[in-house]
Symmetry: C2
Subunit: 155 residues, 2 copies
DNA sequence: TTTTATTTGATTTTTATTCTCAATTAAAAG
DNA sequence: CTTTTAATTGAGAATAAAAATCAAATAAAA
């Protein structure tokens, strides 16, 4: 089952219509794995082929997509929400994000490795885990190299 | 060294003054471990004893505290930032948050258990980890019990 | 005590997001 | 295929969190 089929099915199950606007927003997010677009950015991309679609619709659509778990809302403390596709194929678990404090770039880590912690939480707190978000803040490899270089050059 | 001493030292090191306003905001956050106050909530608490302190000062102070790592900014997607003390004593690691999707309550998990994952990331990505945030979304024990009860009653 | 740069309160401004409502449209029913 | 109906949309106004502005106040250095 493709992402688009899942999308159509979830819209239907929840009683929503498949409109051009929703299809267009879906396509942009679905065809940009690894990107984390803000509503404004999606609006700009949508405008290229569909200048008639309004910003309010983008916000409404993203909110709906979040509700039916088509996308995830991310927060990198940069003043807006950002969105990524919920990639259904690897149902097992979500990926993590590495946020570089130097250059601001976001990297993705596919490996989960939270089973121990989740087991502990479910047992110890009686908390039934549905989902999680994990961000690591630090310095990426590239910025680490640059820092080293700068040190050398000023010595 | 108490939290307050760390606070004073960090202000000094960064070249900021210790004002009444900063002391008051610090006290409120520091004496409410486990709470996650928004700027507005802190403003209301500050007003009780210091009605002369303005909301803008609360925002400025929290931003400053975040910069010198006195507090952490949290985001629970409820329309505002929330803040908690950086508890210096357990330098080792931060705690995690459990967000109940039913009642909205936030629980804290002291156990870290991310060493394996962090080791993997530092080695595999060359990413130097300074910090992290981990949230689990699900259903808390209390709400799970309530759900069971409801099922029984309607059977 | 004087000086100086920082900080503050009050207010305005900014900006992401939501709301409103008449006009449009998807999809169900005939 | 046409009609019907309720959901959806676009455009602009409204909301609210956070930041900016600036003259007055104040910590802390001299």
């Amino acid at each position: 089952m493709t992402n688009f089929e899942v999308f159509k099915e979830r819209l239907n199950n929840a009683g929503f219509k498949l409109t051009t606007q929703r299809r267009v927003v879906f396509d942009i997010i679905n065809s940009n794995e690894g990107k984390h677009y803000s509503p404004e950015e999606i609006y700009e991309l949508v405008k290229v082929d569909h200048p008639e679609i309004g910003l309010a619709t983008i916000y409404r659509t993203l909110k709906l997509f979040e509700k039916i778990a088509i996308v995830y809302r991310l927060n990198f403390n940069d003043g807006c929400s950002r969105f990524e596709m919920n990639h259904f194929e690897d149902k097992s678990h979500r990926h993590h994000h590495l946020v570089c404090l130097d250059c601001g770039k976001i990297f993705e880590v596919k490996l989960d490795l939270l089973q121990d912690l989740e087991g502990y939480i479910e047992k110890e707190y009686g908390f039934e885990i549905h989902n999680h978000t994990l961000k690591f803040y630090g310095v990426c490899n590239e910025c680490k190299q640059r820092r080293k270089k700068c040190k050398k050059e000023t010595t």
